[in-house]
Symmetry: C2
Subunit: 488 residues, 2 copies
Amino acid sequence: MLPKEKNIQAEASPERSVSDIGKELDELQRAMADLGGSLLVIVEGWESSGKGYLITRLRREIDPRYYHVRLFDEPTESEKIYPMEKRFWEELPKKGAIAIFDRSYYSELFEKRSKNGLDETLTFWNAQENMWRKDRMCIIKLFLDIREDTQEKNIRELEKDPNREFLVSAMDKKQNEKYAAYRKHMNDVLEKSNSPCAPWHIVSMEDRDAGTKHAMELCVSLLKDHLEFLREDAELCRPITEIIAPETEKNPPQIKTLDLSKTITDEEYDARLQPLQHRVRDLAFELFTKNRPMIFLFEGTDAAGKGGSIKRLTKHIDPRSYRIHTVAAPTKEELSYHYMHRFVTLLPSDSQIKIFDRSWYGRVLVERIEGFASPAQWQRAYDEINALEAAWQDEGIRIVKFYLSIDKDEQKARFEARESDPRKVYKLTDEDWRNREKFEAYDEAADEMFRRTSTINAPWNLIPANSKRYARIQVLEKIVEEMEAHVK
Amino acid sequence: MLPKEKNIQAEASPERSVSDIGKELDELQRAMADLGGSLLVIVEGWESSGKGYLITRLRREIDPRYYHVRLFDEPTESEKIYPMEKRFWEELPKKGAIAIFDRSYYSELFEKRSKNGLDETLTFWNAQENMWRKDRMCIIKLFLDIREDTQEKNIRELEKDPNREFLVSAMDKKQNEKYAAYRKHMNDVLEKSNSPCAPWHIVSMEDRDAGTKHAMELCVSLLKDHLEFLREDAELCRPITEIIAPETEKNPPQIKTLDLSKTITDEEYDARLQPLQHRVRDLAFELFTKNRPMIFLFEGTDAAGKGGSIKRLTKHIDPRSYRIHTVAAPTKEELSYHYMHRFVTLLPSDSQIKIFDRSWYGRVLVERIEGFASPAQWQRAYDEINALEAAWQDEGIRIVKFYLSIDKDEQKARFEARESDPRKVYKLTDEDWRNREKFEAYDEAADEMFRRTSTINAPWNLIPANSKRYARIQVLEKIVEEMEAHVK
């Protein structure tokens, strides 16, 4: 099976007990934490091959503060209404911690024995694993292998035990009946997802204790290698499949050529505002009933009027069908995950509109400029974001991105107006004044962001916002257009 | 309806617009945040009475960073496997924020028109509301009232609108057909849950705009009153029903009379350990298949061996059926909620065992001694914890509580052993040495905790742990006994 499996030399140490190996793993966890790494162990394999047996021993010596085990059954009805990757992202290990996945995003692919969409899905997960790996995560994928007759024997034994009989499912028997066909298909999935970043390791579970020991030695050995990588801060490796970056626009919008003088008369504003708001309300109902999720995302200069635009946009929408997420600096807890973690877990359900007041683009704006992300980190973020947005679109989410831009004089006037209005002074912080000193750097970062992430399917809408009213109408018109296209 | 409704004088201000009132609410939110308060608005009422209409306007002017709207439909399958209160606790507002519940824990009671268990459930929610209120939460409960013919008219109008027709459910029609019977039952529920801490406010929605305005004026007025309470730090009020504290043991265990000399021979330990562990494994499977959730909770002196006991306990349990939660000091995020929030959200599903290494009892131990909780806070915690544990037991969760106790000399020896073992030195922190200076205070707090919370149904098991092996066997034996009782 899997001829191209890398030949790992697990230390030959017949005298070491499972408990000794477990204790070494426990110690390695602390070394890993010091290096800001994390560990994801994926346990896949044949039904009744001993996944539970292995995991029980694998986690036994690890400090319970720093690991968790998650069983991934078929998605529940409530999980199904979200993008498929959400429930997996939610259980990823934070920095310093270990997550053990009992079954995973591969299970469905192993089970359904279909080539339909297989390559696309594997490319997607390969890209995700690559992202996680670059974020210092060690990914160990174990596949527990047994022969047909062993599986049959295991199933029979489970069925005889009144306490464990419930562990035998229809799937166990189906696999055993069509063992050869499954084996062929599984090999196919294994080969296609056997990336250098996260290769599969086949563990024979003919002898459960020997298999368990082998798997645990593998974990120790691979984690040690990973710690070396982390110490050297090495470029960890390239994905088996390059991320196919979605095509970007030939002529993305640019702040440096933006006409900020555009405006609108009060009469025109008054005449157009309410009909647009009512149209948005009706379209929101329609999207809701048709299960068409959307993301409206707002970035922009400080004081450009993002909040005001969102307020006009949502004025008549039924509050049950949308939710606004105002994105602030990440908390300490959020910083212990991949920077996209807090956003993937907020993706809309299949009938929701999610409005982001600031977003994941903070990675290439504020985090870039303030140095919270290293150059390597923010530079690779463009492709990562493009790939993720493309995946979300494939899952049916339409993404509409706005950047509201004002010039430096207009910003100054607005800051001063806020300062003198007791109702609005709370909106202005010292940080706003500090950011203002980097006004040009923010504009330049935005222009680069447009060039790199204004994709054909999710282009940036750069809105001149010196006139608040002009900007609001522009936003509403664009949103009506996008909602109409999405509802069809 | 509801003759004993408190006669709230909402400011008579016909000239104020809904937008003006909304803006005042927005300002009050900031004042509330400064005072550490929070606001929960519960919107209940007849089907098709205009809940969505009201909520759309109620939240319109509020800064989206500080409120969220949550619709509570029938619980999903994944929600049903958890204690019923979990999904509501998860959506409570944090300090400084506003949560709007569109339907709530009252909905089921209004709908099912049954007196079965009604009083018990209302007493439970009354106690919860009282707890939240004492934690500085303002609770505004609105009931939107319409006449039978108005409801019929509203339903017909919705049905005519292709975008909103989906809002009409079978329940709408059923209510309308049996309007009089529902009205009688609803009145009953309203009266019984009309506590002084969180009274109901009946809002006529015959005229939707007038009703909306009235409801919003009410919110402003009640929140203002609440801010006065907060400023005065007043004892907010007593619950309509006193918490019926579960009966406590006549002779609770006490550290001051504990015989710490108990021990066990190595031979006896070796002979008894494994059979107990295997028995625990089998019982865990049985509990899992029978959907019998349990909580094993460990408190104790620092270095008393909680971790070691948990490790022996879980050695053979299938990791998919239990989860260990190691409780550390609350994060900043956790501190912005009621102290029980982070625990209620971790309650076991109906087939889970949850193991807590430290727990909610931190409130009356470390938080009491270190001054993180005020005397009023930790003193009321005993009754609150008793009431919550009793509720969890009513929902089928068996709770087993252990306190592992060692004396001061033994602790010193263990600290020193940790210091000199490179594998264990990470377990010892400066804080451990600091806590040691308050050794006697911790023992006294523990003794008071036993007196106040060793209830008949969830008594404390005080384990002499100077001999680690003796303690481990004691814990395992007690757990086997409790699992056997629960599995029957």
